[in-house]
């Protein structure tokens, strides 16, 4: 087991809404080892993006705030640091890649200006030097003729090229952690394959850790070392990718894996399904949050929330009945 870079402990993030405080993330813990890729998977509204924004301290203010827990980056609690220090950490130690590259880039500034901004903010170098570095970096992420591209605006690039620019921005100061929130969801499959391959290549070269947030289990299987499965604001199951896919112990993980159509399965057969739908965050049941959809539900699940149990050193599951799940 390699060294831990980031540890999230019992994170609770809440939002003030008209209906009261909503705990979008409610007691989430996981660790990110150095140089590894951890996938966070779950359906819309399960809290995966809020977890990412909590780590980055980019929650929408004043509605969103971290209520409890710790986010330890090499032992330092990011929740406690001053805003000014967090500004320094963001971009140089941790950076983020967003889903929609068009909204992550400023439409009225040239690519070069946006990239050099990162350098000028964090490093003590001249504008010319920064521009040279930006050109070099764009070439590195596979953008043809980067010296021309730096003079162009985001709308002049294709979706895949824009995402490469966003990746270049995230990498500019060689951060130790990159959080990628659905980085390929807006892209076509052939472009997705290009971007995922690029990210893997850069990770090998630069040795950073990646948190990859996605709803696509295929992307998780192909790129991650470890996976955190989230459901309704909590972690349902966590462990090494291979273990989770071959031996899922939470009924939700198992249901998800069984319900996806696969290329090598027989056609026009009924897919197995997870009945019902995710409960709203305002009407969560007191016990296990998956109970209304769970085929393994028993009396205990109704009122008692399950705690994380260790199946092995690395594999944890929050379900009372994991021993019965084959």
């Amino acid at each position: 087991m390699s060294e831990t870079l980031l540890e999230v402990r019992d994170l609770v993030t809440g939002f003030d809404t008209d209906a009261g405080l909503v705990r979008a993330v409610d007691g989430v813990s996981f660790t990110v080892p150095k140089g590894r890729t951890v996938g966070i998977v779950g359906e819309s509204g399960c809290g995966k993006s809020v977890t990412a924004l909590s780590i980055m301290r980019l929650l929408p203010r004043p509605m969103g705030r971290v209520l409890e827990g710790q986010i330890l980056l090499e032992g330092k609690d990011l929740i406690q640091v001053e805003d000014e220090e967090m500004r320094q950490i963001r971009g140089s130690r941790i950076s983020m890649i967003f889903q929609e590259p068009m909204s992550a880039l400023n439409p009225v500034h040239r690519i070069g200006k946006q990239l050099t901004e990162v350098y000028l903010e964090h490093l003590d170098i001249t504008k010319v030097e920064a521009m040279n570095r930006a050109i070099e970096l764009l070439g590195h992420v596979g953008i043809p003729s980067p010296e021309i591209r730096v003079t162009e605006y985001p709308h002049q690039l294709s979706g895949g090229m824009r995402q490469r620019v966003v990746i270049a921005m995230a990498l500019a100061c060689k951060p130790s952690l990159i959080i990628a929130d659905e980085p390929t969801t807006a892209l076509d499959v052939t472009i997705q394959a290009q971007i995922l391959e690029l990210m893997q290549k850069l990770q090998v070269e630069m040795g950073m850790s990646i948190i990859l947030i996605t709803h696509d289990l295929g992307v998780i299987a192909e790129t991650c070392d470890e996976v955190v499965v989230m459901y309704a604001g909590r972690v349902a199951e966590t462990g090494p990718v291979r273990e989770i896919f071959e031996n899922p112990k939470h009924p939700y993980t198992k249901g998800l894996l069984d319900s996806i159509p696969r290329l090598d399965h027989p056609r026009k057969t009924h897919l197995s399904i997870i009945e019902g739908m995710v409960p709203g965050l305002l009407e969560l049941p007191p016990g296990c949050r998956f109970q209304n959809r769970c085929p393994y539900k028993e009396d205990l699940c109704v009122d008692t929330p399950p705690t994380m149990e260790s199946i092995s050193d690395e594999h944890g599951v929050a379900c009372f009945r994991w021993r019965d799940i084959k």
Binding site: E43, S44, S158, G160, M161, D188, V189, T190, I191, Q192, A193, Q194, L196, E197, H215, D216, L217, G218, V219, I220, A221, E222, V241, R242, F245, E246, G255, L256, L257, S259, I260, P261, R262, L263, D264, H265, R267, K268, H270, L271, S272, I273, I274, M277, V278
Partner: protein, 330 residues
């Protein structure tokens, strides 16, 4: 499945849809965007044809041409032997009952100011079918068929989740007992666990009402699951069409191969040879000469840059039908 002698329900013949690109002071047409550029294929009664391709390949435009939300530039659409391009509005109206559409985003395609009952009654009102009592009964039946509670009728679309809204969209599409439904990315906006519920519903409805589907999507795994045949589109053209299993097991076009290899497989033990295509899809406003795929093709030769390959039959011994537009036998 269809017999050899059966007539196709829908037949597309060299369909073109070009949009003018306007510019200049007087907004005159400067160029044209060739969204659909010569597409021909048939859909048999009871069959599902999957249409896959990346964004901008013309797959949605093709769907809109079939339901006549767009009037094609040239080419023919025959439905049940009738050429839809030559008949007038009055004769088209009863045919509209038979071809319906399901859209990608049910939040956008349902009128937010109408109750579910209003939405589902509208098709009957437009086609002047039944009176208010019989329509009410029909709405209740439709809700039951798509698995929604009867209490849903008096609520508004925003009160439902994405999956439930898609059920409403499906109920509206099957209201008038259509024979053909054009499904434009019907499950792409849904979560994985809801997606499988909707796919199962669509399979059930097909069996119950003997529907034909044109299933348009970018997710190859979903398309292969629900389709009998698959057509792969690239830059407005069909580059390969064959039985769904054939397309998956024996793809002959380099683009189809790359597409299949790019789909992430939810199995961490499988390490595959991935064909990563370089570059982006060219613009349909100024498509490359020759084969539209030649700018990204790993097997490109001189002939590809000048001559457009024709869709030709390459069916092997065990294959029912298999056509590919590529100059070479790969």
């Amino acid at each position: 499945m269809s017999e050899a002698a059966a007539n196709p329900l829908l037949s597309l013949k060299d369909l073109h849809m070009h949009f003018p690109v306007k510019g200049g002071v007087f907004l005159t047409a400067k160029a044209s965007c060739r969204a659909v550029d010569g597409v021909s294929f048939d859909i048999m009664p009871g069959e599902t044809v999957g249409l896959v391709g990346e964004s901008g390949c013309g797959k949605s435009t093709l769907g809109k041409c079939i339901v006549r939300l767009l009037k094609p530039t040239s080419g023919e659409i025959h439905y049940d032997g009738i050429n839809l391009g030559t008949i007038g509005r009055r004769r088209l109206k009863p045919l509209r009952r038979e071809i319906q559409m399901i859209f990608q985003d049910p939040a956008d395609s349902l009128n937010s100011r109408h109750t579910v009952r209003g939405i589902l009654e509208e098709p009957f009102q437009i086609q002047k079918i039944g009176d208010s009592t019989s329509r009410q009964k029909k709405v209740d039946e439709l809700l039951d068929v798509v698995g929604l509670p009867l209490s849903a009728a008096d609520r508004f679309p925003f009160e439902f989740s994405g999956g439930q809204r898609q059920r409403i969209g499906i109920a509206r599409a099957i209201a008038l007992n259509p024979k053909l439904i054009i499904c434009d990315e019907p499950v792409s906006a849904l979560d994985v666990s809801i997606q499988s519920q909707i796919l199962n519903l669509m399979l059930d409805l097909q069996e119950q009402f003997k529907l034909s589907y044109l299933f348009i999507a970018h997710d190859l795994a979903v398309v292969k699951h629900i389709s009998d045949r698959i057509a792969v589109m690239y830059l407005g053209r069909v580059v390969e069409i064959a039985d769904a299993d054939t397309v998956y097991h024996n793809p002959r076009h380099p683009y189809t191969r790359a597409l299949i290899s790019a789909v992430p497989v939810p199995d961490p033990t499988r390490k595959r040879e991935r064909i990563v295509l370089s570059g982006d899809v060219p613009s349909p406003i100024n498509p490359p000469a020759g084969c539209p795929f030649h700018t990204r093709c790993p097997h490109v030769q001189d002939i590809c840059r000048t001559e457009v390959p024709k869709l030709r039959n390459v069916a092997g011994d065990s294959e029912r039908a298999h056509s590919v537009s590529c100059h070479f036998d790969l």
